[in-house]
């Protein structure tokens, strides 16, 4: 017996069964709390979506507020989107030219750039910019209205805040973001033309004829359709995060931040789904 003792002592002490059990149960509690929080969030999200839908199809549409929001959505993002569109077109052109030149296919340049702009780059980049500018703006604005009880004030004065605040914003984003995407596409092609003109000399009309002859309705149509969904997602997520902001001032920042993150995730997911569907159809 005495011989075994030193050997036993050298074995590291096992943590007691009790502490192990506590650790495991703590972990389990944390995990269940996380899961319940997740499901509660999903539930709240669905409820909010339902209330928004209900408010959208009720009477007394707030037309003036809708116009104001449309103006805000466009006005806020136009400069940034123009610049981004222009630069993307320019960069795409400059970078693709050497590759195409290798195959002696530089004449395909306008069509290729236009196609990638219209199908993917324009919609996704514009939508992501709008997540940052519009989604966060709505999250912060409605979040601060929530924190300062302005939304409660609306509710007690017998006005449905969903109808006055959420519906005009979601609709404005849904309608304006496709417009902004088309605008970004146009600026992208303009940038591409400028890029093509750095080396070589293409007339504007020739460039545009080449660009547009590459784009078919089947490229254009699905790309436009998905931008409506991008817009709806951005507006909706911004409003949802604002409305469900907590009670302290710091929750305004959180709401804005989370709007951007969640809206971006939605945009990317919608894009993924849209690509799959387009692939199946054509």
């Amino acid at each position: 017996m005495k011989a075994i003792r030193p050997v036993l002592q050298r074995i590291p002490k096992l943590p007691s069964v009790k502490t192990q059990a506590i650790k495991i149960s703590d972990n389990a509690i944390k995990k269940t709390q996380l899961t319940t929080r997740f499901f509660r969030e999903v539930g709240e999200f669905c409820l909010f979506a339902w209330l928004t839908l209900k408010a959208t199809f009720s009477r007394d549409f707030e037309f003036r507020e809708f116009l104001r929001q449309c103006f805000k959505v466009g006005n806020k993002t136009l400069p940034l989107i123009s610049l981004t569109g222009l630069v993307i077109g320019l960069v795409l052109t400059i970078q693709s030219r050497p590759i195409l030149a290798n195959f002696g296919a530089t004449s395909m340049l306008p069509g290729m750039v236009a196609l990638s702009l219209v199908r993917e780059m324009g919609p996704v980049v514009t939508a992501l910019i709008c997540c940052g500018k519009i989604g966060s703006g709505m999250g912060a604005e409605l979040g601060s209205m929530k924190v300062t009880e302005q939304i409660d004030a609306m509710e007690v004065s017998s006005t449905n805040p969903m109808r006055y605040l959420v519906v005009p914003r979601v609709l404005a984003a849904t309608l304006m973001i496709p417009v902004l995407v088309l605008y970004a596409d146009a600026f992208g092609i303009l940038g591409s033309w400028a890029g093509a003109n750095i080396k070589g000399d293409v007339t504007f009309t020739l460039f545009f004829t080449q660009a547009f002859s590459a784009i078919w309705f089947s490229d254009f149509f699905p790309a436009v359709i998905k931008t409506f969904f991008f817009g709806a997602a951005i507006g909706f997520v911004g409003c949802y995060k604002g409305f469900t902001a907590g009670r302290g001032t710091e929750s305004v920042g959180k709401a804005a931040n989370q709007s951007v993150v969640l809206a971006s995730v939605f945009v990317i997911l919608i894009d993924l789904i849209a690509v799959q569907i387009t692939d199946m159809l054509y």
Partner: protein
């Protein structure tokens, strides 16, 4: 016109024994297992100013938010004009809320709108039958009543704290409520402005014949406005009575509220004209 009809209705019922306008029974409300209101019962009678005192965090705001169902009570009943608030559908609730004016603790003015638009917002949605002229007249009258006629085109951010409270008060009285719920109307204001607000509260009662719940921890405001006082503590009614009975109470909690403040004989009634 509408005012007259409601006055006539009030006179007709005056002969009957007093029926509570608001009746709260055994109200319970908690958040995430923390009980805020445990077992709260109170009544508000016609044309009365009921002051609700209590430390901050004692659930005073929660109480009046339950009354207009901004928050759902966990248990108990709240009856307003005899109707159970908990069981109302959306339409009934909207109809009830039209009769109640709610003054929020921090004013809750819509900060993207001018003062005129702030007042117009509830007015055009609640009283859809009014003409443009009548709306303007009503807005001007309400602002005049709170002494803010010259700020009609300003933004809320351009006003001082006291002016914002008054503008907010104007926004609630512009739709002729029958019940007023004031959430800490004088908190954060200097004594002079507080007295002005207290006087306004009394004026509103006189002019619009309202029954009011006034939540406060400001003793001066309670003295100036209260017909009856209720003290909340630990989610229950700690004491109920007149201001005088509170002042003479030997209860340590109540004394700590009234300590260091001038006795009621030196009570500062706001003087204005």
């Amino acid at each position: 016109m509408e005012q007259e009809i409601s006055n006539i209705a009030r006179e007709a019922t005056a002969a009957l024994p007093p029926k509570p306008v608001i009746e709260v029974k055994n109200l319970r409300k908690g958040f995430d297992k923390v009980e805020v209101l445990r077992d709260l019962s109170l009544q508000l009678f016609e044309n009365e100013n009921l002051v609700v005192l209590g430390k901050s965090g004692s659930g005073k705001s929660v109480l009046i938010k339950c009354m207009v169902r901004l928050l759902r009570a966990d248990a108990g009943t709240i009856r307003i004009f005899g109707e159970n608030v908990q069981e109302m559908n959306d339409r009934e609730l909207a109809e009830l809320r039209v009769k109640i004016g709610f003054l929020f603790q921090r004013g809750a003015l819509y900060d993207s709108m001018t003062i005129r638009e702030n007042l117009e917002f509830p007015l055009v949605r609640i009283k859809k039958y009014l003409s443009r002229k009548e709306i303007d007249a009503k807005i001007e009258e309400a602002l005049e009543n709170v002494g803010l006629s010259d700020t009609i085109n300003k933004m809320p951010s351009q006003l001082s704290g006291g002016m914002r409270k008054r503008a907010s008060l104007a926004r609630t009285i512009v739709v002729d409520p029958m019940i007023m719920l004031y959430d800490e109307p004088t908190t954060g204001l200097d004594p002079v402005t507080s007295d002005e607000i207290s006087m306004l509260i009394n004026n509103v009662k006189k002019k619009y014949n309202t029954s009011s719940v006034i939540i406060t921890h400001d003793i001066a405001c309670a003295r100036a406005t209260g017909d009856r006082v209720i003290m909340l503590n630990e989610g229950e009614v700690h004491m109920e009575g007149t201001i005088r009975s509170f002042e003479q109470s030997s209860d340590p909690l109540i004394q700590s509220f009234f300590k260091f403040r001038e006795p009621s004989s030196a009570k500062a009634q706001p003087h204005h004209g």
